[in-house]
Symmetry: C2
Subunit: 207 residues, 2 copies
C-alpha cells in the first residue's frame, strides 16, 4: 500500500513538472487498486482484533495500521487531484519559473518516505524528523500562494494556470499533513504516547 | 464531539454569510477543545478494546467510533479554515451575490447532522440518504468555481475575495466528504458491510 501510494505521488509530480500525460494517466489508473487494498488491510486488521484480542503494543500496532491505512488511501486520492491539475496545466502554455513546486514536492516526497520507513522500522527518531519538516512546507506554500496571486493580478490569462498551480501546492501541503499523521501514529504505537495536538515537537500527551 | 463540531461549522458559516467577526473567533476558540476530546475518545476506545475484547458488532461499533472521531476532528479543522477565510472576506467589500454558498452550506450542514443522527440511532436508511447528497454538493461546487473564475477575470480587484470564496466552497465540499465517510462507517458498523469505493449507492463490498 505504501509503495503504491508513494509511486502515485511520484508520478503525479512528474505529470506536473515534466508535463507528462502518461504519468497523469498512470495515477488515475492506480486509484482503484489503492482503494481495494485499503479495504483488504482494514478487514485484516479487524480480523486480527476479533480473533487474537491483542494487548498493549500489539493492539497499538493494529490501531496505528488502521489509521495509517486510512491516511494512505487519502494520499492516493490527493495524487489523483494533482494528476487532474497536471492534465489541465498541460493544456495551457508552460509557465516559467514554476514557483517552488519542484522544491516543495521534493520535501513532501521525503516526508512520505520517511514516515513509512519509520512505521516499518518502528523508529521514533525517524518519525520525529517528519514532524520537524511540516512547518517548512507550510511556509513554502504561503510564499508560493503570494507569488501565484501576483501572477494572476498581472494578466487575467494567467488565472486558470495559476489556480491549477495553487491546487498543486495546496495538495502537496495536505500530503505533508498526512505524512505527519502517519509519523504521529508511529510514535503512538512505538511509545504509547499520543503526540497529536501537542505543538509538533513529538513530546507530551501520555496515555 | 459531534455537537461541538456541528456548532463550529454553523458559526464558521455565520462568519462568512453574516460577516460576523465574533462567530469566526468562536470557531478559532473551539479548536483546542475539539482536539482534546478527540484524544479522550481515542483513548477510551482503545481501553475498551484492550479491557473487554469485544466481538462482532461491538468491535465494529468501536472501530467505527474511532474512524468517526478522526473525521470529526478534521471537520473541526475545516471549520477553522472557513473561519480564517471569513476573517479575510470581512476585510474586503461585500460581494453580491455571494454565489451559491448559503445554499451549499445548508446542504452540507444537513449532511453533517444526518450522518451523526444515523450513527446515534444506528439508522441505515439515514446513512444512505447522506451518500445520495454528496454528488449534489460536488456539482454545486463546480458551478461556483466557474462563477468565481469569471468574476476574477473581470477585475483583478476581485481576485483576493474570490480566492477566499473558492476556499470556502472547497472546504464545504470537504465537509460533505467527511459526512459521507461517517455515513459509510455507520453502514459498516450496523450491517458489517463495507460500502466504501462501491460507487456511492450504499451497497456491495461484503466482508
Amino acid at each position: 500500500m505504501g509503495s503504491l501510494v508513494e509511486n502515485a505521488i511520484q508520478r503525479s509530480i512528474d505529470a506536473v513538472i515534466k508535463r507528462d500525460r502518461n504519468a497523469a494517466q498512470e495515477v488515475l489508473d492506480s486509484e482503484q487498486r489503492i482503494n481495494s487494498i485499503e479495504l483488504e488491510i482494514d478487514a485484516l486488521a479487524i480480523d486480527l482484533l476479533a480473533l487474537h484480542q491483542p494487548m498493549a503494543s500489539n493492539l497499538r500496532f493494529i490501531i496505528a495500521a488502521l489509521k495509517i491505512n486510512s491516511n494512505l488511501e487519502r494520499m492516493g486520492d490527493l495524487s489523483v487531484v494533482i494528476a487532474h491539475s497536471a492534465r489541465a496545466l498541460i493544456e495551457s502554455p508552460a509557465i516559467e519559473p514554476m514557483v517552488d513546486i519542484p522544491y516543495i514536492a521534493g520535501i513532501v516526497q521525503s516526508m512520505v518516505r520517511t514516515s513509512l520507513d519509520a512505521f516499518v522500522s518502528a523508529d521514533v527518531d525517524l518519525a520525529r524528523s517528519v514532524l520537524a519538516s511540516d512547518d517548512a512546507v507550510d511556509n513554502l506554500r504561503t510564499t508560493c500562494f503570494h507569488q501565484l496571486v501576483s501572477f494572476m493580478q498581472k494578466d487575467p490569462q494567467n488565472i486558470n494556470p495559476a489556480l491549477n498551480l495553487l491546487t498543486v501546492t495546496r495538495t502537496l501541503e495536505r500530503l505533508a499533513d498526512h505524512s505527519t499523521n502517519i509519523a504521529e501514529d508511529v510514535l503512538f504505537f512505538v511509545s504509547g504516547v499520543d503526540v497529536r495536538h501537542s505543538g509538533g515537537d513529538g513530546t507530551a500527551n501520555p496515555r
